[in-house]
Amino acid sequence: MATITPSTAEIVRRSGAVPGADYLLEVEGVRKAFPGVLALDDVSFRLKRGHVHALMGENGAGKSTLMKIIAGVYTPDAGSFRLKGQEIRLTSPLDALRYGIAMIHQELNLMNFMTVAENIWIRREPLNAFGFVRHDEMRRRTLALFEQLDIPLDPESEIRDLSVANRQMVEIAKAVSYDSDVLIMDEPTSALTEREVGHLFKIIRTLKSQGKGIIYITHKMNELFEIADEVSVFRDGKFVGEHAAADVTRDDIIREMVGREITQMFPKEIVPIGETVLSVRDLSLAGKFHGVSFDLRKGEILGLAGLVGSGRSNVAETLFGVTPATAGTILVDGRELAVRNPGTAMTAGMAFLTEDRKETGCFLLLDIMANMQIALLRGGYATAGFVREREIQTLCLQQKARLRIRTPDLEEPIINLSGGNQQKVLIARWLMLRPKILILDEPTRGIDVGAKAEIHKLITELAGQGVAVLMISSELPEVLGMSDRILVMHEGRMTGIVDRKDANQVAIMDLASQ
Amino acid sequence: GVSMDKFDDNFLTVLRNGMVDYAKTQPGVTLQIEDAKDDVSKQISQVQNFIANGVDAIIVNPVDTSATAAITKAAASAGVPLVYVNRIPADIAKLGPKAAVVASDEKESGTYETQAICKILGGKGDILVIEGQLSNQAAVQRTADIHDVIATPECKGMKVIAEQTAEWDRTKAQNLMTNWLSKGLKFDAVVSNNDEMAIGALQAMKSAGVDTKASVVGGVDATQDALASLKAGDLKVTVFQNAAGQGKGAVDAALALAAGKPVEKWVKIPFELVTPANLDQYMKKN
């Protein structure tokens, strides 16, 4: 087996393809086991030059794992790799980058305290003759890159000051800046709204025309048909099929992914709407949003739509007391409530699924059980301080089964779960509370089609049981499909509330950019 | 200005109090006492701070006797009188006219202690040595003294069977002694670099059921606890270093130098051996 040492990476990259090699990247027989889990089992995969190859599969199917192997982050137990027909061996991310393989990771991987420019050019900073970094040049290059990609960000701002969506855009810019032949995108749009997605697709098309290959992972079906040329489907760590995107339908793929039919994506049921449980009047948070007012009634699902950075998440955080309001009133069951911290909100019957899984959601080092039960412990399930483990374990197991969380056991550290499964654990955390008012910020981020339908059904069920739901989502079909009414925001103002019957893409987008 | 090696040392506390008490009896004398915390650089800095503040004389209880050159130089070039107390600086020969030393001869302490024990044992026996902090000169010196005494013809029959450090600390000595006892070591005497460790060793022996009245344990410093132990018949010997005398002597020397009067280069304050026989005359002293 002719293996090429990393030092020849550049040569491989510069040289043309081996005659007869149709594929940019060929992966064969990859196997990867984690303790207790066989994440990939004899998987093969091929990527054509100038094509977008989509990867589909349920949460935990092994998509990210395969991509991380290709990007040199994990070492596979078995498998061979060919780049432009030449055998290569990947031992570190640096190797992969040298071979011309760049990746946008599912979990954001940025340096919080460094600037946007520093993050993008890390290890490739422009230097002057003395080896000093040329900050001006770096800034110039960043601006040039941003202009090319149409990203409106200041290269000097620090990552920690950016919203999740903007961080995602930085990741995209960083990956593009490597000018690599193979670009892997692991759920790049999970935090983006339509506008940015359109944006990203423009970038992808340009790259395609330059003859690069793109591996694209998503759980959003519509994206698949918009951008992909081929699609490969994975199930339970195995490769189950490759198709030309033009030859298959949505249902075909879903069937292949989950092994059963999913009939209805947004199983909205009209349930009786009860009395008002939450009233918000002129709620403001200085510098973030102002003058937000709405009523939320029993059994109602209120969607919250808007562009990225419109302040939707801020409203939710303020309602829950994460960032207490600077003005305005919150009434729960008609009584005014001074929400100073999440504790008071929870006592009043609220629950809040945050949008940033990593920062404000998961306790990454703790096990699944600890992650699920934490909110529950506040108000019960303990006798004289001693946690009633049995009862809680039963509850957790119920949630695990109901949400199909893919894990060997509840003692697994949550960090070892796939992104979508982590999200499910967090949803379980709040559902177990049996809240009166459920606030969901991007609830189905990174969740596969099958599970998404399940979660939608669950939300509808809860509404049927009289829970008032406030749902933020950047996926317009989701908001349109699920909500009884939709509140639209733009730059910290609410621009209107639309009823389900009047709601459509155009009306919402109109309000969102008003 | 006074810079002390450290504040939380019993002996140096007595010395310091000796200075303070004596200074109170002297009209117009105010002391500013600093704690060098066993740190040479801190001490040098303190002296420089004193000079910056324009004190009339400086008393230094050196952290490191070999590192006094810098202090001597600083004081001499600023023309401030300087008195070293308790420990003899290595550069004693190079001290200028406005400098003096008030101290006991450290060689005496370990020597007196070991000689006394040698006498009790009749010149032969196995001994355990508990050392102070390994990086501390008094510890190094006293341990060396022990070996020197054993090398003399009268004490040739003595043998060191184990030698370990307990870092001047009572409980560490308890631990060390218990570890030795657990090994079943047979010994005739324990020679400790100070009283605290000697008492620790005795406590360990007591709790292990060893008859401490019949054992031979020696220390240095003649602390209150040591004297009490001596009286109770546990400790057999300790060595008294006249801390208060050194403190008083240092203030005297500093005052004399500040007034322009000549002072002996080394004002010697002798060590004194304390045994049950002469115990009473020391009970009130430290």
């Binding site: 889990v37 999440p342 934490i374 089964a401 | 631990n175 218990t178 570890n179 657990s182 090994k183 209150q224």
Partner: protein, 344 residues
């Protein structure tokens, strides 16, 4: 390939936890290192000293007795570290509470009593005073960290300097001797060991099975998420540091009783030993990870080292040099074993 959770029927696999997957507690590995270390000394003992290292009750006792003071504060320090904090003040608080407890524990016939009117008291009083002082310091530490948001390192460093100052100032550095026998009994025989293991057990239970423990881990793993989950993070921080302070006070009392004397310099450097015991035992300084059993093993490992070296009569100078290496080697071995087991 051990398990077959990749089965296509999720509900089934969700209900039946797969056999053979039971996780071993991570401290088993460091326990292995500890046992290995004892066996090594046993072997060296037969070779060089001609006696058994382990089969000696007195040695087994001193091995843990000599670390029980460190151990008591390590119980508190471990909790602060799990909560992604640290407690540097513990050693100084030991010094401070030792002086305070000693001053209230003097016998009626003490010649230079600190409080001549308060001699010969029931040991309850000095013990209570020591514990309360420790507790108060802990509350101040916790309050500073929780409400002024300064790094725990700085808050407890400041407290470390100040508490040592108080200890030195309390009697101008004079030691306090002539303590009552009833007080001294607290530090006699097996008592320090019993107290150490007792508090370790209590807080082991608290960490594993109570809300207090779950909250401690949660805050250490992700304070933001803990807050969003409704935990009163500030109050809990105060609570944990309060316990740490209380345990430092307890250590001060035990130490004083053991030495039968209160000394200002006591406890110097204890904080580092305590942190070392915790970290050797597997507690992560970045928070969220750690167990009390690990800390106990960590403390015992330090004790084995000290006893082992004295047992082999290693030259005091070489002891130090080797000791550093052995600590590193123990943790490397632990790391290695854990990693290997993981990949099996």
């Amino acid at each position: 390939m051990a398990t077959d959770i990749s089965s296509a029927s999720p509900p089934a696999s969700a209900e039946t936890p797969v056999a053979g997957r039971r996780r071993l507690p991570p401290e088993l590995s460091i326990l292995g290192v500890m046992i290995g270390m004892m066996l090594l000394f046993e072997a060296l003992g037969w070779i060089f000293v001609g006696q058994s290292f382990i089969a000696n009750p007195l040695r087994l006792k001193i091995m843990i007795l000599q670390e029980s003071e460190i151990g008591i504060i390590a119980v508190g320090v471990t909790q602060t570290i799990i909560m992604a904090g640290i407690d540097l003040s513990s050693g100084s608080v030991v010094g401070m509470t030792a002086m305070i407890a000693a001053s209230l524990a003097q016998a009626a016939d003490a010649p230079h009593a600190v409080y001549p009117g308060l001699t010969g008291l029931n040991p309850i009083f000095p013990v209570a005073a020591g514990l309360l002082c420790g507790l108060a310091v802990g509350v101040v530490n916790g309050w500073l960290i929780a409400y002024t948001k300064i790094p725990p390192f700085i808050a407890t460093l400041g407290m470390m300097v100040s508490a040592r100052g108080v200890a030195d100032w309390y009697t101008n550095g004079q030691p306090i001797g002539n303590l009552t026998d009833s007080f001294a009994d607290i530090g006699a025989g097996w008592w320090p060991v019993i107290i150490f293991l007792g508090v370790a057990f209590i807080f082991h239970i608290a960490l594993r099975y109570t809300r207090y423990g779950k909250f401690t881990y949660a805050i250490g793993a992700n304070p933001l998420a803990a807050r969003v989950s409704g935990i009163n993070v500030e109050r809990h921080i105060v609570l944990v540091y309060m316990f740490a302070g209380l345990l430092s006070g307890l250590c001060g009392v035990v130490h004083t009783a053991r030495a039968i004397s209160g000394q200002a310099g006591v406890g110097m450097g204890f904080e580092l030993d305590a942190i070392a015991a915790a970290v050797i035992g597997g507690t992560s300084l970045s928070g969220g990870v750690g167990r009390m059993t690990g800390t106990v093993i960590g403390a015992v490992i330090l004790g084995i080292l000290t006893s082992g070296f004295t047992f082999l009569n290693v030259d005091a100078h070489y002891q130090e040099i080797i000791k550093g290496g052995v600590i590193i080697a123990a943790v490397v071995a632990d790391q290695y074993r854990q990693r290997r087991r993981k990949s099996v």
